[in-house]
């Protein structure tokens, strides 16, 4: 027969401070666990969202990023002319030959500069990339005008509408801010490709992004483009390209999170072991009474395990709540593939909170195991003496 849960709840109430401290120890471990994974999650999400499986990213063969790539005008025209590329209402191909550079612009707070992506695009980039102007308007063709991703607007100086940002020996008027579904593109500065080309790297694009009519035709277009004698390019699904850029840092962050929290968890488990042993020894006679009443040793063991798990679960929930406020906070790091700053939000997902809670329960069960084992094996006669 099972020992009712009420027994555990009342027992816990007998020693609130000790229980709270054990729970809080576990809460802190879970909070660090959730927070660090939220960081890794946020970074990955920002990059993964930047790419769509419907789009193809064409770079020079051998280039591992847009920064090291180069595609001539002629090649860009050939790529856009592929029959598998989708077209807009005016029957123009949905292809965006882009100029990609990294520039230093001054920070909004404090001194110093940071590397930011400046991307020169044509008007097709907006439907291809799902970009929305949130404020102002888009740049006009032939003008020194730029639009700025909304994530970096508060982080850098001279990014408000109407401001003039200086780079490449020219002043550029900020005419709009744009959003891109929380992706890394929101950390970029966009202008017209024909304006960026002469001032930066000369007569060459860095990449061509095309929208496919049918995403299943990717293997065909890849084969055609890479096999074309006139081109030296490689084609990748845009989503794979960005996922590839996110793996290194995401892996570092995730393994760091796991390493740190496992060491912390061992400490918290030690705390739980101490608490549960103390609970068992202070309740020796109670346990003996339970055993005398006919409760099986297995039930006693289960009861103590449940008690430990419940304390840990409460701690886990508290830890999740503790970490919750960081959701949405914007931080930044560098995407080393493009050598530029990426601003992204911490992402606390329900799945992450659930794994935090499971992690807590596991800590509780591990910590409660030996004390519960001792309780179950108590010699009744000795204990009642």
């Amino acid at each position: 027969m099972k020992i009712p849960l009420v027994y555990n709840v009342r027992s816990i109430r007998q020693r609130p401070v000790s229980t709270a401290m054990t729970g809080l120890g576990i809460a802190l471990v879970v909070a660090v666990f959730v927070a660090m994974l939220a960081l890794a999650n946020g970074f990955r999400a920002a990059l993964v969202r930047s790419g769509s499986p419907d789009n193809v990213m064409v770079l020079r063969r051998g280039a591992d990023s847009e920064l090291s790539s180069g595609i001539s005008r002629e090649s860009a025209r050939l790529i856009a002319a592929d029959p598998r590329v989708a077209v807009d209402a005016q029957n123009r191909p949905l292809a965006s030959p882009e100029v990609f550079v990294v520039i230093n612009i001054p920070r909004a707070v404090g001194e110093g500069v940071n590397n930011v992506v400046a991307r020169g695009v044509n008007e097709q980039a907006f439907p291809v990339r799902n970009i929305h102007i949130t404020e102002g308007r888009t740049f006009r063709s032939g003008q020194s005008e730029i639009i700025i991703g909304e994530k970096i607007v508060p982080r850098f100086a001279h990014t408000a509408l109407g401001d003039t940002l200086r780079f490449a020996n020219r002043g550029w008027v900020v005419v709009g801010h744009f959003s891109a579904g929380g992706s890394a593109l929101e950390s970029e500065i966009w202008g017209e490709n024909e304006q960026f080309m002469p001032v930066f790297r000369g007569e060459v694009f860095q990449s061509v992004i095309v929208r496919l009519k049918d995403r299943a035709s990717f293997p065909e277009i890849k084969r055609t483009l890479e096999g074309d004698q006139r081109l030296t390019v490689q084609a990748q699904r845009e989503s794979d390209f960005y996922r590839g850029q996110s793996t290194l840092l995401t892996n570092i962050l995730t393994s760091l999170a796991i390493m740190i929290t496992s060491i912390m968890a061992i400490g918290a488990i030690f705390g739980a072991v101490n608490t549960m042993y103390a609970a068992v020894s202070s309740r020796t006679s109670e346990i003996a009474v339970l055993l005398t009443l006919g409760f099986a040793p297995r039930s006693v063991m289960a009861s103590f395990l449940v008690e430990s798990a419940v304390i840990a679960l409460l701690g886990g929930i508290a830890g999740g709540l503790l970490a919750l406020p960081i959701n949405g906070i914007v931080t930044s790091t560098t995407n080393w593939n493009s050598f530029s700053e990426v601003a992204f939000s911490f992402r606390v997902t329900p799945g992450l909170l659930l794994s935090g809670a499971i992690f807590a329960v596991v800590m509780g069960l591990v910590g409660g195991f030996f004390p519960a084992w001792r309780a179950a094996r108590l010699q009744v006669v000795q204990a009642l003496r």
């Binding site: 802190l28 280039a63 090291s68 230093n104 740190i260 400490g267 101490n274």
Partner: protein, 380 residues
């Protein structure tokens, strides 16, 4: 001092609890030392920068180059004694999973500019006389199991194609905090094999006097302000610092985690001390009856807390120091010269003191204030 046997006897009573609490503190302090060392190691990279060197880069961003013609004009700036230049190659070796820096350097000026990159004179000589020669850091040699004389092929990402180099020398940095995983080769090789003319990614200047740095920066940047490639000149320290800040706010991240670790362990030790004190209520009353003063009992509990936390901290902090210095951990190449500094150890012991006081105070006060009569009433 007379109290020590009594403290030890008390600790021995719940051996498991004492052991677990001590180990808990060890783990926490180990973690603290590791986290703080990440920050100190990152900063050490900027500390070692020479005050008499400056870096000139393109004002647009480091990814843009500077004309070769700047070399002579930079050398003519008053206060500049030497000029060297280099370019980032960005190739991949094998499957490209291991990242390491590859630089095209000027063989004549680079090694006098950086005396801390130490190469045996005969190897340096061999390097200078062969276009495709390379000098490789000791750490990278060991990592891939390369040997001198071996041919190594790098796949260029910025400069397309397969590039074959012959390793002619191995450098060992004079300071542990310097990267020993770089791959250096001749700038001329890069220039000759590339179809179009290439340009240096940055220039390094050596100054006759570090105090001239602000003035030189001004002169250089003014000189090129209206040219096709405006420059940004700064000290080597600022240059290195700019790479550290690119990681984001690592310091804040590490400090916040460190705080959480310390608080979590405070919960564990504090709880253990309180449980111990509660179990001994009767005993404390007996000790008071036979003449122990309130103050002695207070000290007794504090000593117990102190002994557990300091033993734990000693194991954790010294363990971290010993582990990292013996294993040569370098954060997969990102953190060369990873080391637990003396300052980190001192701060660790400082935190331990706070930990001991915070976890011992409540139970110690309880022992101090305990009225004998009331306490003895509970003793069966």
């Amino acid at each position: 001092m007379k109290l020590i046997p009594l403290v030890l006897a008390n600790l021995r009573r719940h051996r498991l609890r004492t052991l677990l609490t001590t180990l808990g503190v060890s783990l926490a302090m180990f973690l603290f030392a590791s986290l703080r060392s990440v920050v100190t190691t990152l900063n050490a990279g900027t500390e070692i920068a020479s005050a008499s060197r400056m870096v000139v880069q393109n004002a647009n961003a480091i990814v843009f180059t500077l004309p070769m013609s700047y070399r002579a004009r930079l050398a003519a700036v008053p206060g500049v004694t030497e000029v060297s230049w280099a370019n980032w190659f960005g190739g991949q070796y094998g499957d490209g999973r291991v990242f390491f820096g590859q630089f095209a350097v000027d063989p004549e000026s680079y090694f006098t500019m950086y005396p801390e990159i130490q190469v045996p004179p005969d190897q340096l000589d061999a390097f200078k006389h062969e276009r495709t020669a390379a000098i490789v850091g000791k750490g990278l040699m060991d990592l891939f199991g390369w040997h001198v004389g071996q041919n190594v092929t790098l796949r260029g990402t910025i400069f397309p194609g397969d590039w074959v180099f012959t390793i002619r020398g191995v450098y060992t940095p004079s300071n542990k905090a310097l990267d020993d995983r770089s791959f250096l080769f001749q700038y001329a090789y890069l220039d000759e094999r590339t179809e179009h003319r290439i340009e240096p990614g940055w220039y390094t200047l050596k100054l006759s006097d570090p105090a001239l740095a602000p003035q030189v920066a001004h002169t250089v940047d003014d000189m090129f302000r209206n040219s096709s490639a405006a420059t940004k000149t700064g000290t080597e320290k600022a240059f290195n610092q700019s790479f550290v800040t690119m990681w984001g706010n690592v310091q804040f991240l590490m400090n916040s985690i460190g705080m959480a670790v310390v608080f979590a362990i405070l919960m564990v030790t504090g709880n253990a001390m309180m449980m111990t004190a509660r179990e001994r209520t009767g005993e404390v009353a007996v000790l008071k009856t036979i003449g122990f003063t309130d103050r002695t009992l207070f000290v007794l509990v504090m000593m117990e807390a102190g002994l557990v936390t300091f033993t734990g901290a000693f194991i954790g902090l010294m363990g971290a120091k010993a582990l990292y210095s013996s294993s040569g951990f370098n954060g997969f190449g990102f953190l060369p010269g990873f080391d637990v500094t003396t300052a980190t150890l001192a701060i660790g012991f400082g935190i331990t003191l706070v930990l001991a006081l915070a976890s011992g105070l409540v139970p110690a006060l309880r022992a101090y204030r305990l009225p004998i009569v009331q306490a003895l009433r509970h003793v069966e």
